[in-house]
Assembly symmetry: C2
Homo-oligomer: 244 residues x 2
């Protein structure tokens, strides 16, 4: 069996997230599997690097699939470009070791979260950024971010309580400002479900002066979900890169 690794960008606006579901065909995985299965005549299973929620976007999502077919890389790329919906694009494809697994082999992931602080919504970016029409204090946001960087038990930033360990490592959080546009880039490993959006929600609260670094510290220690900030909107979040 040949194993192909794909780099995919998608506009998640109209999808119910990455993962295939019985109730809807509006998932990225579902669309990819349908086109690849038609192309190869096999029942293709696409393995993604992780779930993305409904409305979340991806600049460079990584997935892999196995096939017996002998299609060449370029031919697969053309076929996908032609038959996928206009909001999903496979940008590259390469033959990889048969054991490569897009999810198990992930070392870390980089997400970016986009915020627009202009008084008015930007009509061209309204589906691709979170509109917060008030000034945010970047210094406070960066201080709060530094509390979260490192290895911690992120129980308070987890949406699915359970018995599994919630100890994770955030390698970096960078906040860049360009006029009224903010970009928060988070790199970490094994990020929990919705963790980035809860981190961003907490940083926004810090930027509003409603959470200070010692309170964030306390939130981490108390390990209760309801202590962290509210979850930031899905539409501002992009999976930027996956490191293997």
């Amino acid at each position: 069996m040949r194993n192909f690794k794909m780099t995919i960008s998608y506009d998640g606006s109209r999808y119910k997230g990455w993962q295939k579901q019985k109730e809807t065909d509006l998932t990225i995985q579902g669309k990819l599997e349908a086109v690849l299965s038609k192309m190869t005549g096999e029942e293709i299973l696409v393995v993604g690097c992780g779930r993305t929620d409904s409305g979340v976007h991806a600049e460079n999502y990584i997935a892999n699939f196995h096939t017996k077919s002998t299609w060449k890389n370029e031919a697969i790329l053309y076929y996908l470009y032609e038959f996928l919906p206009e909001d999903i694009v496979v940008k590259s494809i390469e033959l990889v070791d048969e054991r490569f697994h897009a999810r198990y082999n992930v070392k870390s992931k980089t997400y970016v979260y986009k915020i627009n602080t202009n008084r008015f919504r930007n009509v061209f970016e309204r589906k691709y950024s979170y509109h917060i029409p008030e000034p945010l204090d970047l210094i406070e946001m960066r201080k709060a971010a530094q509390v979260l960087v490192g290895t911690h038990d992120f129980q308070s930033f987890n949406m699915k309580p359970g018995k599994k360990s919630t100890v994770r490592t955030i390698h970096s959080i960078n906040i860049a400002e360009n006029g009224d546009h903010l970009e928060i880039e988070v790199n970490g490993d094994g990020l929990l479900w919705n963790m980035v959006r809860i981190i961003v929600g907490s940083l926004i609260e810090a930027g509003r002066g409603k959470l200070n670094p010692s309170e964030i510290e306390k939130v981490l220690q108390e390990k209760k979900r309801w202590e962290a900030g509210p979850i930031a909107q899905a539409k501002g979040l992009f999976l930027r890169e996956v490191q293997y």
Copy 2:
């Protein structure tokens, strides 16, 4: 009567252009008049700085309207922000001289046309740029642009043949490159219907090596529409600024 001047941005994707039509309520003018009429209880007529076609966008469109009502600027701004669709935003409003006319008083207009030359469409910009997946020769495009700058009879760049003069002035055409993104900024006065899109279509042909400067010169002189380049897609065009 008080006369208000508005600066408006809109995503033209789902509209049939600026101008109100009997057949559809999907026009920018129609949406604005409906909300302003409801607000004031009067039948408000909104005068725009010119027509934009179906699918064309605006960063800073200018329009004015007269009203007897005593609403304050900020209150009007809030009302419009609340009740206009999410793809139309009035960004500022000011009281102006009663004789100000958004169309008659225009001195010149600046349009920008966005092109993406990447091999693949950009899923996030697919409604806001023209995707031309091939390299374009900027030097040739700039040479061709220089032929068009100045006062000429733009009959060959006119979509509506008629008896009216088609002599117009293009003040400048600037082409900026940023990776695989091209922006063509055109400033001119009294631009004819679709003239910018035909100019861009011709510059693209120049960039492909299919029209050289002397051929563009000849197109101008021959004054036949079918000699110029094909019309570039509406979705790449933005009205950037209006000068009064």
